[in-house]
């Protein structure tokens, strides 16, 4: 009996995967078809303009959206939404995606990776990497917790010192990258090892020499602000996530700083000749990235009330970079949107959740994400606006 059940489960998984793959192919094909039709239509009307130079074709608004950095991930998100709706309709009893419990899990879990990805994405648009965020994610709440619970500080200064440490780490990363001309990949790799050591140092039990976890028990009002339940399956983390996304959008698109970030990432020399202080921009972007990681760490550890030093090994840095890349951020900077980053990070969480719901082994999540990374980046490259890329 058990055997047949497993068989049917496997069959279901395989079938659903096949359907997903077919949907992918269909919708992306469809998207390209629409684009081509529009192009044809445009050429009929404005043949004089397009014949002059094929490079400066006026794109319609629809076309710009279709070719924008976040279009592919948006299509993917819509497909996922349709699939979940269909599955809920077909298997209302076994497919528990739209249940209050599951949505609560999602709204507590996803914001953390979203907030972190927003920071990493901002930095990647600026043309740099940060591999040290897993260390910041662990260290800063750790400092807050030890100041609050072990040294008996007041809440406000202990939270503040955590964030100050994060900003200092970000500044150090940026300083090493911009002044000492060390590639940020290496600078933050060094910082990652360094922070691993620092976390181990702080967490070591002086008697046994074994690193142990620490508990964070803030007052209740603070818990409610950071991770409290607002109503139903709607948690404070979600609000914070939306707040960060809006803030990042405003910063990147409506503030001079965002302009500088895009310019620095796109072409550093040109930006410098335009009078932009690229070093300053990069250092600020590093600090934003560290701050976001520290905030995500504080939120998650407030919810769990526990910080374990093992978090530094969790591979969060690569996950965040992967989420950004899925969301259409160009790896070498200068291109990307906040919407794409948020959707990419959400995809990471939702796909994992979906695979848990259809009872696939947990490893399928990573396998699936690996395929999605490669697939989406190929698509982003093929269908992107920027045809003349830097020499890769």
């Amino acid at each position: 009996m058990k055997n047949t059940l497993e068989l049917t489960d496997n069959y279901k998984i395989k079938k659903s995967l096949a359907i997903i793959v077919r949907l992918f192919i269909f919708i992306f094909f469809f998207k390209k078809l629409i684009e081509k039709l529009i192009e044809k239509y445009m050429n009929k009307n404005k043949s004089q303009i397009s014949s002059e130079s094929s490079r400066y074709i006026q794109l319609t608004k629809f076309q710009t959206v279709l070719r924008g950095p976040s279009s592919n991930v948006a299509v993917l998100a819509i497909i996922l939404f349709i699939i979940t709706l269909l599955a809920t309709w077909l298997y209302p009893n076994s497919f528990n995606f739209y249940t209050p419990g599951n949505l609560a899990v999602l709204s507590q879990h996803i914001p953390i990776i979203v907030i972190m990805s927003i920071g990493v994405g901002t930095l990647m648009i600026c043309g740099e990497f940060d591999l040290s965020i897993a260390g910041v994610y662990t260290l800063c709440p750790f400092i807050t917790a030890s100041a609050l619970n072990e040294m008996g500080w007041h809440l406000f200064p202990s939270v503040l010192i955590g964030f100050v440490v994060a900003l200092v780490i970000g500044f150090a990363n940026g300083f090493v990258t911009t002044r000492l001309k060390v590639p940020s990949f290496i600078a933050s790799l060094g910082m990652m090892f360094f922070l691993k050591g620092v976390v181990r140092w702080f967490s070591e039990n002086p008697e046994t020499g074994v690193p142990g976890s620490i508990s964070l028990s803030p007052p209740e009002w603070f818990f409610n602000i950071m991770a409290g339940q607002i109503f139903g399956s709607f948690y404070a983390q979600t609000l914070w996530c939306i707040f960060f996304a809006i803030l990042a959008y405003l910063f990147l698109n409506l503030h001079t700083f965002g302009n500088h970030v895009f310019a620095t990432g796109g072409d550093k020399d040109a930006a410098e000749k335009d009078g932009i202080n690229t070093s300053k921009t990069k250092i600020i972007a590093f600090m934003i990235c560290s701050f976001c990681a520290a905030f995500a760490g504080l939120t998650s550890s407030t919810r769990v009330n526990l910080i374990s030093p093992g978090q530094t090994f969790s591979g969060l840095e690569l996950q965040a970079i992967a989420a950004c890349v899925i969301g259409g951020v160009y790896l070498f900077g200068g291109r990307g949107t906040v919407l794409g980053i948020v959707l990419g990070a959400c995809l990471f969480g939702i796909v994992g959740n979906l695979l848990v719901i259809i009872r696939a082994p947990g490893e399928y999540t990573s396998v699936f994400m690996g395929f999605i990374i490669i697939f989406l980046v190929i698509l982003n490259n093929k269908l992107g606006l920027a045809k003349n890329k830097k020499d890769l």
Binding site: L131, V176, L180, K181, V182, P183, F185, I186, A187, L189, G190, M191, M192, F193, F194, L195, K196, G197, V198, R200, W201, E204, G209, F313, G315, L318, I321, A322, V325, L331, F332, P361, E363, Y364, T365, S366, V367, M369, G370, F371, I373, I374, V377, I378, N381, K382, K389, D391, L392
Partner: protein, 336 residues
């Protein structure tokens, strides 16, 4: 442009003495630091033979056992980085290949067939990495990040998180992990052999010339008639093969395989290469530098353990050493 070329020429060929010329080599700095560290360690251990046992048989053998795993992987990654690409999937290949070898061997096949199977898997991974990177024109960082996710969890799916315990035949064990002349560990001998092979490929074969050309400037090497795609795919395959060899070597002595590779392995190899003077953007580097970089990684660990510092100094120092080493290399690059 002309001006800068002239400047380059003038600063490049008026090197004052042998030391300057030595430091102008990509691996010059790290070799210099390495020799200094080695010398000072030897002196200290001769002065305090009881407290700092650097020159003692157990320590030397321990070092020889520890270095090759990272070292062999770094050699492959170094070649690939000289050709201008990254490979983040080596850590996953490292774990998976050993598991596949053990799986084939425990199912009753001869051990050599297991090794061949592991190598075939490694070559396939390298081909896929290279094919996707070159034919779709996406950065290798992303390709191999994707394959890292796929292989690491694919390995866990294959293994069901159950470790395999096995005993390889004695001749194979002595061949891979035995001891020669009392002091020489076979792993280290293999490391040196592979270093020599990669050196020959890089410096005495057309392929190596192509690696440098492709990593230095893709466009000009295309114009010079080099098949860039083929060269890069070759580099990916060599890199994966090195990871497979390291993976097999690391499990034979212990006889237990788990697909849970050590985390951060792929980043450690990149760090070792960059300490050894390989440019992150490609086109500059040397095998000696990569080998010494990997050795330095373990030397620092060894010194910290021998000097009885607390364990957390390990990561602190490695982090500082990475940044310090690369800063030194950057200064050397600017100066010479």
């Amino acid at each position: 442009m002309n001006d800068s070329l002239n400047n380059l020429a003038s600063t490049r060929y008026v090197l004052k003495g042998p030391l300057d010329r030595f430091r102008a080599h990509p691996a010059g700095n790290v070799v210099l630091v390495f020799l200094l560290v080695l010398l000072s360690c030897s002196v200290v251990s001769l002065i305090y033979p009881d407290n700092f046992r650097f020159i003692s048989k157990p320590n030397l053998i321990l070092l020889q056992r520890a270095i090759p795993t990272l070292g062999i992987m770094s050699l492959g990654v170094g070649l690939l980085m000289i050709a201008g690409e990254f490979d983040l999937s080596v850590g996953a290949v490292f774990g998976l290949s050993a598991y596949i070898m053990a799986m084939v061997y425990t199912s009753g096949m001869p051990i050599l067939l297991g090794v061949v199977a592991a190598l075939v898997v490694g070559i396939i991974v390298g081909l896929i990495n290279g094919w996707i990177t070159t034919s779709f024109g996406i950065p290798s960082f992303i390709t191999t990040l994707g394959t890292l996710f796929i292989i690491r969890s694919g390995g866990r799916l294959v293994s069901d998180n159950v470790p395999i315990i096995f005993q390889v035949p004695d001749w194979f064990k002595t061949l891979m992990t035995g001891r020669m002349f009392g002091y020489l560990q076979m792993q280290f001998v293999w490391f040196i052999i592979i270093a020599i092979i990669t050196w020959v490929i890089l410096n005495r074969h057309t392929l190596g010339n192509h690696f440098f050309a492709v990593g230095g400037s893709k466009v000009s090497s295309l114009q010079a008639g080099i098949n860039v795609k083929k060269t890069k795919i070759f580099a990916f395959v060599i890199c994966s093969i090195c990871a497979v060899i390291a993976g097999i070597m690391s499990v034979i002595r212990v006889g237990v395989v788990n697909t849970d590779a050590k985390p951060l392995m792929e980043l450690e190899t990149v760090a070792a290469c960059v300490i050894g003077g390989v440019a992150l953007t490609g086109g500059r580097g040397s095998i000696i530098g990569v080998a010494v970089g990997a050795i330095m990684f373990h030397l620092v660990k060894d010194i910290i353990i021998l000097a009885k510092f607390p364990a957390y100094y390990l990561d602190l120092f490695i982090g500082l050493a990475i940044v310090f080493g690369v800063t030194l290399n950057q200064i050397a690059k600017k100066k010479y």
